[in-house]
């Protein structure tokens, strides 16, 4: 049942590094993270890798497997033939800290820039009411496990460090869209999504959707509708006139 798996793992730090060749024994039903763990426990005790839940729920073990952004814990060895060499490298869009661990602080910085949810007051009985159909749109986006694979694969920043400052990336377009579609939110973040978050730079190649381990339709359900809402605000003459007269783009929402 078990066999010897050939692994190539990138080892190094910010000063540089190289792929190392390893052979590790694996069993039926295992995933790539199991092979990495066995390597760590038996051959290279200081091999750096992030992981937590090992069930595809926390989004910690993101890396690139044969060049493709994936979660190590959700990639089954049975997806490869037994004689195939599996190559594992750190996410390319983020600076390496050590081995497979990268500095993903870019994402935490972008998170700070999203203006927080600002709800309408509660109903008289102290509760709030929303319809299931209205929360479902946001719920899809809140399935995001923040693995940042969408950020890693996005060509706007993948090899363009210079774009990072003005581009929040797919994960945060999800967040803007989620808040924009929230039935009780009172902020209007469309201007911000356009200017500070740079949603205009996205040219909908859908790579983010393709790598999302949660299967969130990032491009179709979040980015494109958000682009349309931004366009409404900017270019629809009726909306433009309304915003001049009423100082608000949409009823009840404050521009932030």
């Amino acid at each position: 049942m078990g066999y010897d798996l050939k692994l190539r793992v990138w080892r190094g730090d910010s000063d540089g590094g190289d792929l190392g060749d390893y052979v590790v024994e694996v069993q039926e039903g295992e995933v790539v993270l199991d092979a990495i763990h066995r390597l760590q426990a038996t051959q290279v005790g200081d091999l750096a890798v992030r992981w937590n839940c090992k069930a595809g729920k926390c989004g910690s073990c993101s890396a690139e497997i044969n060049g493709r952004p994936r979660l190590l814990c959700m990639t089954r060895l049975s997806d490869f033939t037994e004689d195939e060499t599996i190559t594992i490298t750190p996410m390319r869009s983020f600076p390496v800290i050590r081995d497979l661990v990268t500095d993903v602080s870019f994402n935490y910085e972008k998170a700070k820039q999203v203006p927080a949810f600002a709800p309408t007051p509660r109903d008289k009985d102290g509760k709030r009411r929303m319809q299931q159909v209205d929360v479902e749109r946001g719920q899809e986006f809140r399935k995001c496990i923040e693995c940042f694979l969408c950020q890693d694969v996005c060509h706007v920043v993948r090899d363009h460090e210079e774009n990072k400052e003005n581009f929040a990336g797919p994960r945060f377009f999800l967040r803007y869209a989620e808040l924009d579609m929230h039935p009780l939110d009172t902020n209007d973040r469309r201007k911000l999504a356009q200017e500070a978050a740079g949603i205009g730079m996205c040219n909908i190649t859908k790579c983010c959707t393709e790598v999302c381990p949660e299967g969130i339709k990032i491009t179709d359900n979040a980015i494109i509708p958000m682009k349309e809402r931004v366009a409404d605000r900017k270019y629809d003459p009726v909306v433009w006139l309304g915003s001049k007269i009423y100082k608000r783009g949409r009823t009840g929402r404050e521009e932030v």
């Binding site: 200081d46 069930a55 926390c58 009411r129 299931q132």
Partner: protein
Amino acid sequence: MTGNRMDSGEAPESDFGAGFETHEYDVVVIGAGGAGLRAAIAAHDAGAKVAIICKSLLGKAHTVMAEGGIAASMGNVNPDDNWQVHFRDTMRGGKMLNNWRMAQLHAQEASERVLELEEWGALFDRTKDGLISQRDFGGHRFARLAHVGDRTGLEMIRTLQQRAVALGIDVFMECTVTEIFTDGGRVSGAFAYWRETGRFVVFRTPSVVLATGGIGKSYQVTSNSWEYTGDGHALAMRTGASLINMEFVQFHPTGMVWPPSVKGILVTESVRGDGGVLRNSEGKRFMFDYIPDFFKSETADTEEEADRWYDDKQANRRPPELLPRDEVARAINSEIKADRGSPHGGVFLDIASRRDAEFIRRRLPSMYHQFKELADVDITAEPMEVGPTCHYVMGGVEVDADTQRSQVEGLYAAGEVAGGMHGSNRLGGNSLSDLLVFGRRAGHNAAYHAMKTSGSNTRIEDSDVKAAAENALAPFEGEGGENPYTIQKDLQEMMQRLVGIIRKADELTESLTEIEALKERAKHLTVQGHRQYNPGWHLALDLMNTLVVSECIAKAALEREESRGGHTRDDFPGPNAEWATTNLVLTMDGDSVRLKHQPLPEMPAELSALFEEKK
């Protein structure tokens, strides 16, 4: 140093020489799961300057794995629900060993804590009239769990994380605390290392909130992540605080059993709440054979009645699959031992034959995904194989019920690391609400303590900092050749074998001898590599905590000569009246663990009356 710190980013001058970065806060919260984040938000709201220190990145803590929901008697689905019923369910689920005051506060405050999450952006599933939906769960009389599909924990942690970020609370990510400093018996600070660089950090603070979660990594089969090494439990003991109820470990009845790589990963109780049933290899719904007298009056005794309950909850009693977790885990264990298990050593959990595929995918999306991706099993078409997995420790730091303060001035604990709330067994859904209710209380009180003592200048001694640094670096000094990964594995196998679901005196005695041997081996570790992001070194340090908590569990389990909740003794089956009013309290004495008996706090008459009228 890259971006794992989320404070102002200035590198302050150190008072302790080169290599030690120093920070000053009113409140330091250790852990960024539900309890830690809620505590930090509360302390911030009370005006304190707060830091959160966490071993992983923000948003990855184990709360993210919680599936079923948050128990709160909002009464959105059944208007008869109220805090008294929730309180009674919680106490009965814990076999009356709970700290009554904690159970009361929890039941009273949970609803407001859930509504608060909604205020911060959480999107719960809704009822038809637009309120937060509530689902049925084991041990809860009414549908009570606020939920988001089966990924409620993710919703909760993301909501709290986004709130903490919006408030601008400082977060030290991938930073591990190894010591808490005291001065004259009061907390004066904490010592930590950055995982990324291996460099040391000293926090000056009068208040520390432990929110480090549990101890699952003491066992081989567990639903818990690598972080669950009992850090807070061990830190508290080394600081002079006490632990209670450590013999009570919850084995969740349904963990995945196959493939080997996912053994132990949780299968939510919602599967049973939503209609799933347990069957053995003969196809029998065996839970009907395991209904204890204590729950007979409220549990269905025929399949027909159990099935009717899903549609008419007033006229029928609950299915036995929804008994509290300890009962179900023991029953599954017995079936497997009697050779009526599934091919991979579990039993069958079947929802496919009972609900249509669309219902299953909508109610249990992440279970569908998990089995499809990791086990090639389509849960809408075939049964799952499940077996018990170490999930939660009821025991923890002994705290004051109202303030969450430990025996040490300035040291607080909230969430899984605190003890008392759940007695001998926790009900599903009561953990997320526990994190919110007591996280908030701990944060408030820690902030109050900081304010009250401001200006009283507790000191951190140079020699204490030096000693902490030496301890942290000790694994690099050793040349004994012991591998930390191997010791951890040996410990987990031993605990699983000798201190598992069913326990007996000779095995527990043997486990204590084995723990001593492992402690000795752990003195001779050799760690490869250097201080920069080195998991082998990190594990070597965590292992010391795991050894301490494992000893606590084994010692308390040997002492308690009865079976109750999450502690089952083969040689003492059934509960014992004398033990019903006794807590076991553990403290540290040098290198070893001391144990004493302590009477359980007595419930006031108006609360004990709740149990008589419902009988």
